[in-house]
């Protein structure tokens, strides 16, 4: 069986300027090591990467958005999957690294170890482009298809347990958020971080606030 790291290496070769949201721990560390870009938002908690990526994909429908999620995470809140099926975002790619365990806290088994088929769940929720990859070549082919055809795409990547030993150089969530949003502002020509406006919301230039 292939490692998650090997699959992430294949993904990094095709990712382009896609925005990437990742799961906790091993996935975040490995991805940040392979692809340390401002376009990454790392370390989202269980159940959160895929619905957050869906919202981002809806906000920026012309841009690829990738969720790097895990089996334990998506199993925590599978309601994200029918929501993707309901919205049908053409630009969303969901990758579930399925190692059949809650590896980050000791590797006790998840339901996928007993046969839960996440690709089957995705298909039954209306995500037609749902595939399972068990080798790095199958995964790369699925990624290329996802980057070149309309989605939503759902890739269950069956991987062995284990995390590559990589330097952990990540930072705090708020700092990551500012870097990520600044990247979106600059690459999309948007103004998102705006605490003070010239229209008087919050602060009006030249207005006297304190008369005494």
């Amino acid at each position: 069986m292939v490692t998650r790291y090997e699959m992430l290496e294949r993904l990094a070769a095709h990712i382009g300027d896609a925005l990437v949201l990742t799961n906790l721990k091993g996935t975040a560390h490995e991805w940040h090591h392979l692809h340390p870009k401002d376009s990454n938002l790392l370390y989202l908690g269980l159940g959160m990467p895929t619905p957050a990526a869906l919202g981002l994909a809806m906000a920026l429908p012309h841009r690829h958005v990738v969720s790097l999620d895990g089996d334990g995470s998506i199993l925590l809140d599978m309601a994200a999957i029918p929501t993707v099926g309901q919205v049908q975002p053409k630009n969303l790619i969901v990758v579930i690294f399925d190692n059949e365990s809650y590896e980050s806290n000791g590797a006790l088994p998840t339901a996928t170890s007993a046969g839960t088929d996440l690709t089957g769940v995705a298909r039954s929720c209306g995500i037609a482009n749902a595939v399972t990859a068990t080798t790095a070549d199958e995964f790369e082919a699925a990624v290329v298809a996802a980057m070149t055809t309309a989605g939503p795409h759902f890739i269950t990547a069956k991987v062995e347990k284990g995390t590559r030993k990589v330097p952990i150089t990540m930072t705090y969530g708020k700092y990551n958020k500012y870097v990520f949003v600044k990247h979106i502002e600059q690459s999309e020509g948007l103004e998102i971080l705006r605490s003070i406006t010239a229209t008087g919301r919050g602060y009006t230039p030249n207005k006297t606030y304190y008369s005494d």
Binding site: G47, P51, G55, A79, T83, L190
Partner: protein, 166 residues
């Protein structure tokens, strides 16, 4: 709900610059949701639970949209994991419009305990909120709380009291 309340909520959201509506179907906001769904100024999406909804709204904010989440107060408890592990540590502002089940006068026994727990939990989370019980107060509170959400990069809530269903 009275038509004036629906109108006040919709216009309050418009004045606040909200353009992305996430909702978990709820009896208090039923008419409002129908009006918002028909209004081209708002992109709407329904969700099967409030945790997915809050994460989806957060993603929309990261992409430059101004989101609101409409839900019953029971949904705050469903969304607690996302709020404390995502919105708060990352600083993601989402305006929440929350209907107050278990408020004084609510005639359903099942929501009494939610009513007891709701406001203490909001306060313990550090979520600023305004309680409203008439249309114009709601309209104003939506605009003000969205301003606060933008400048603080924190969650803010407008809580819709139950009395008389307006």
């Amino acid at each position: 709900m009275q038509e004036a309340t629906t109108r006040a909520i919709v216009e309050g959201l418009r004045e606040a610059g909200i353009d992305f509506v996430v909702y978990m179907p709820d009896s208090f906001f039923f008419e409002t949701i129908n009006v918002l769904e028909a209004d081209p100024d708002f992109q709407c999406v329904s969700v099967p639970n409030e945790s997915v909804g809050m994460c989806l709204a957060a993603g929309a904010w990261l992409g430059g949209r101004k989101p609101v989440m409409l839900m019953e107060n029971t949904g705050l408890f469903v969304a607690m994991n996302a709020i404390t592990r995502f919105h708060q540590p990352f600083g993601i502002p989402v305006l929440m419009l929350i209907s107050y089940r278990g408020d004084a006068g609510d005639g359903w026994w099942m929501v009494t305990d939610i009513g007891h727990a709701f406001e203490p939990v909001l306060r313990d989370l550090g979520v600023m909120y305004e309680r409203v019980d008439e249309p114009e107060k709601a309209r104003k509170a939506i605009r003000l709380m969205q301003t606060s959400a933008s400048v603080s990069e924190e969650l803010q809530a407008v809580v819709f009291r139950k009395e008389g269903a307006w």
